[in-house]
Structure formats: C-alpha cells, structure tokens
C-alpha cells in the first residue's frame, strides 16, 4: 500500500513531530510513566472525541457533550454515594439520562430544522446549569474500593503504570471503526453527512441515522465522564467545560470535515493521543498546563495544514485510498 493512501497520515506526521520536540525538551518524555499519563489523557479526549467524530461524519455537531460529561457522572455519584442506590442502577440511570439528552438533541435538530450547532449550544448551557445546581457546585467524592470503580479506571494493566481506562478507548474505537467501514449502517452515516438529500433519494433513513449518532455521542460523553469519575474518585460539576471544542479538535485533527461526510476513527484515536502527548509533554517540559489550550489551538491549525497538503500531494501522485 502506498504511504499516501493512509488517510491518517496527517495526524501521524503531526504526532511524530510533536513527540520528537517533547522528547528533545524533556528526558522523561519517553518513559513508561509518561506513557501512562499520555494514555490517560488520551482516553479523556478520545472516548468523547469518537462520538463527536461519528456525529460529524453524519453531518451534525454536539456541543452538549461537555455538559453531559459533567452531569452524568454527577448523577451517578449522587444516586450511588449520596443516596445509597445500587452502583449499577446509578450507572444505568446516568446512561439513560445521556440517551435522553441525545434523543432531545437529535429530534429537536430534525423536527425544528434548526442547525444542531444551535440546538446543542442551547442544551449544553441548560444541562451545565442543571449540573451546577445538583450539588450547589460542590464535587461528590467516593472513598470506597468498589470493583466498578477499579474497572472504570483505578486499576492498572498488569504492573504497568497504564490505567485500564485505555481499554475502553480501544474497545469503542474498534467497534466504531468496524461499524463505519464494514457495515451498511456505516455507509449510511457517511452518506447522510455527505449529502442528506441524495442519501434520502436512495432510500437511506437519514433521520434515524442522525438520531442514532446523537445518541452515540451523548452516551460516549457520559461514559468519558464516568471513566474520569472512576479514575479519580470524584465527580465535579465544572469539569471539562472546554471538552466540547476539544472533541471537535479531535475529530478535525483526525481528518474529519466540518461539512460532514468525512472522518476517521483511527485518526480520532491518534489525534487524542497527540493531545495527550501535548498535555504530558508541556508538564514534563516545565511549561504550565495553563498553556495547554493555546497549544491545542496551534496543533489544530498545524494538523489541518498538514492534512490538506498531504491530501493534495497524494492526489497529484494519483494515489487511490481504499474505502
């Protein structure tokens, strides 16, 4: 296979360059401990990023993921820790809430005919307020040793410094990559985002496809928050307020298009790892993490330029990408 036939080449090149810079700046960058930290952040950006990527391929946005990311673990923690519910019941309730929020986003977008950017901006603000008022702004902490928490993120793989939470990212990524590339539903998702009218004319149930993608992005956002709760033992109503835009960065750096119809799961995973590398790299290089957002801004532009240049070069060379 030709090098330029790799759709994720752009993010791969960006990642290697950023990795090289940090490895040069800090001797600790290329250690197991650093890898553990990189992967832990990659999970936070990646799981929610996967859902947003699929939704963006279907031609829609979800800005409410940040609010769902803080609200759903808050609801789970509140029911379980504060009100003594069974942990699975609390988890189930939090996920049903995520599904309901996704359903509202999807139906409102389709029925009202308002762009999902606006709809989910509105729901994002609403649910952020609910999340804050749930405990009056205070976090909920868990100090026990429930196996559920260790499976969500406290446990480490073997004797490595790598949290089990990476398995969630890998698992979701494999399932979604298979669905997108190897099933009819995946074909419909690309078609719905590429040209919804044409897809409908060919009998694709575009509305159902899009609502399904809204449900997915909402549930994955909730799970990201719940995995964070599992990893750190506390749920905070204000956490992850910038996650909605970071998730879009993941999708775009991974090769997705804001216009819909394009995007890659592998690319999103790599983009999440590059973000994790940047976060860890900044810390290890002695730069304050308060500079992280600025760095993400730089990274976004850098990766998009590389993506465009490489795609142009590949087209000039007449390389065919398998689809």
């Amino acid at each position: 296979m030709h090098l330029f036939a790799i759709q994720e080449l752009g993010v791969l090149v960006a990642g290697l360059m950023i990795g090289a810079v940090f490895a040069f700046l800090s001797p600790e960058f290329l250690t197991a401990a650093s890898a553990g930290s990189i992967l832990a952040s990659a999970v936070q950006f990646g799981v929610v990023g996967l859902g947003v990527t699929v939704l963006m391929i279907a031609g829609e946005f979800d800005l409410s993921v940040a609010s769902v990311y803080s609200l759903c673990p808050m609801v789970m923690a509140s029911l379980w820790v504060d009100h003594g519910f069974n942990v699975f019941l609390a988890l189930g309730f939090a996920l049903i809430l995520a599904l309901a929020i996704g359903l509202i986003n999807g139906l409102a977008t389709l029925i009202l005919g308002i762009p999902s950017f606006i709809i989910t901006l509105a729901t994002a603000l609403f649910w952020a307020g609910v999340s804050l008022n749930l405990t009056g702004g205070y976090p909920i902490s868990y100090f026990g040793d429930s196996p559920v928490m260790s499976w969500l993120g406290t446990a480490e793989i073997g004797h490595s410094k790598i949290s089990v939470s990476i398995l969630w990212l890998v698992g979701f990524a494999i399932i979604l990559a298979v669905v997108l590339r190897m099933t009819a539903v995946g074909n419909w998702i690309f078609a719905s985002g590429g040209d919804g009218r044409a897809a409908r004319a060919m009998g694709v149930p575009v509305g159902a496809v899009k609502v399904g993608c809204f449900l997915l992005s909402s549930v994955l956002a909730a799970l990201t928050g719940i995995i964070q709760f599992g990893s750190f033992g506390s749920a905070t109503p204000t956490q992850g307020s910038d996650l909605a835009l970071t998730a879009i960065v993941v999708a775009v750096v991974g090769g997705g298009s804001l216009m819909g119809g394009r995007g890659s799961i592998m690319g999103a995973v790599l983009a999440a790892i590059v973000l994790g590398m940047s976060y860890t790299g900044l810390v290890l290089s002695g730069v304050s993490t308060t500079w992280f957002q600025s760095f993400v801004g730089f990274l976004l532009l850098f990766a998009v330029i590389i993506n465009m240049r490489l795609a142009g070069l590949g087209a000039k060379l007449g390389v065919i990408r398998k689809s």
Binding site: A201, M202, G261, S323
Partner: protein, 254 residues
C-alpha cells in the same frame, strides 16, 4: 432497425389528467414506451413534460386515467412503489454522494452483505467487482478503481454511473429528466452512449431534454407536448430535427 411499435409495450398511459387546484397540468394524455425504445419528451416550458414524468415515477398520483405497466394496471402512491416494479428515475442531481467511493455510491441503500445477523458485513469485494464491471459496460473505460470517490468523475460520467446503477438494480424503465442540461458536447456523448447501452439491453428509456438536436440524435421516437397535451408523436426516422423544432415552436408544418 426494428419497428418500435412491434416491440413489447412496457408502460402505457391512457387519458391521464393531473390538476393542481384549478390549473390543469396535463390533460387526457396518451403515452407509451416499449422495451428497447428511447422516447424523447419535448415541448416548451410549462408544456407538462416534468409533470408527466412525475406521474410515471409515482411522485404524483393522477386525478384521472389508467396506467399499465407490463400489462398490469398500476397505481403508484410514492416513487418507492414505482421503483419496486422497476421504474427508476435518474434525477438531475443524480443522488450521488461526491465524497463516497464509486462502489459505495453504486450500492448505497442496497448494500450486499455477508455473514449472519447481527454480524452482517459489507461484501466489499463483490460490490467493487460489480461496480467496475457495470461502469465499464457503460463505456467508462478510463476508470482505475471503484475505490475512487465520485467527485473525480465528470458530469457525463456521473450520469452514466446513475444510469448503470438503475439498470443493475432491475430497472426496466429509465426516466431521465434533462440529463445533459449542464454538460459539454463531449460529456453529452457519454450520456448518449450510456442511454444506447441501456436501450440495447432491453430497457425502455424516457428522456426530457430541451436540446432538440440531441433528442433527435438519440431517441427512437419523439413525443411533443403543448399546454398539457400530447400534440404529436413522431418516429425519428420520419422527421428531421428541424421538423421537430417547428412542431415544438407551434409551426405545424408536417
């Protein structure tokens, strides 16, 4: 060339009338198309050509009249009904997704699958082969791979892909609404070629086109409409393009 009328009748309309409120769009239309026949539908703007095609493909239900498809009386309540009996419409916007590959477009909504439920995966290799084979048959010989996106195709090639797709999925009647309106002469040739191939494999084809020279070149029969009525139906071999132009312009000189 064989007489078109000696061929098996595919689709026949008798006394079909369609009103929009007080406006009569088409009135008492008699129309037929046979297997292996290309019929051109011409007439001035507002003559009722598009309405007639939309009655044939189930987009509209006529207020009066009888339609017979392959000998059976039919009533369509949606384009889906028409498609299920084998009437395929190639729309002006073609219903193609530019960013998707040719084979994914070719099978969009009708994907071939392998494996048992719930693990039904795309039969990619078969779909690639079938797509390539059908596009080659349509005269698209310069294509390298069915994995290339549709947006590398020219306008004429996209028409050919849409026609190939309609033919492959059991269409026995193709309806083309202004297939060449935005195309260069060279691209128009590609569409003509695709239409001839579809016709030679036994399909009936109905084409709406404003370019009378083009219609005269590729159609076996030309039906002229005016103010919602069919005013004439001529065999191509009996008339020149100029005759047809005169008929459309209302100079009934034949």
């Amino acid at each position: 060339m064989t007489e078109p009328t000696s061929k098996e009748k595919l689709f026949g309309l008798q006394d079909v009338t369609m009103n929009f409120g007080n406006v009569v769009a088409i009135q008492g239309v008699k129309f037929e198309v046979h297997r292996g026949e290309v019929v051109g539908l011409v007439g001035d703007n507002g003559a009722g050509k598009s309405t007639l095609v939309k009655v044939m493909n189930g987009f509209y239900s006529p207020d009066r009249g009888v339609m017979q498809f392959q000998g059976n009386t039919v009533r369509f309540s949606s384009p889906r009904d028409a498609r299920s009996v084998g009437i395929e419409t190639v729309y002006q916007d073609l219903a193609l997704i530019p960013a998707l590959s040719m084979w994914r477009n070719f099978f969009l909504g009708r994907e071939l699958k392998i494996g048992r439920r719930p693990f039904r995966f795309l039969a990619k290799r078969r779909m690639r082969e079938i797509t390539m084979e059908n596009l080659r048959e349509m005269g698209l010989t310069r294509l390298r791979s069915p994995d290339e996106p549709v947006d590398i195709l020219s306008g004429g090639e996209r028409q050919a892909l849409a026609i190939a797709r309609a033919r492959y999925f059991g269409g026995s009647l193709l309806l083309l609404d202004e297939p060449t309106s935005a195309l260069s002469v060279k691209e128009t040739e590609k569409v003509s070629e695709a239409v001839q191939i579809a016709r030679n494999s036994g399909l009936g084809v109905v084409i709406i086109d404003h370019n009378i020279g083009h219609v005269h070149r590729i159609c076996d029969r030309i039906v002229i409409m005016e103010a919602g009525r069919v005013i004439n139906s001529v065999r191509r071999d009996d008339v020149t393009a100029q005759h047809v132009a005169d008929l459309v312009a209302g100079r009934h000189a034949l």
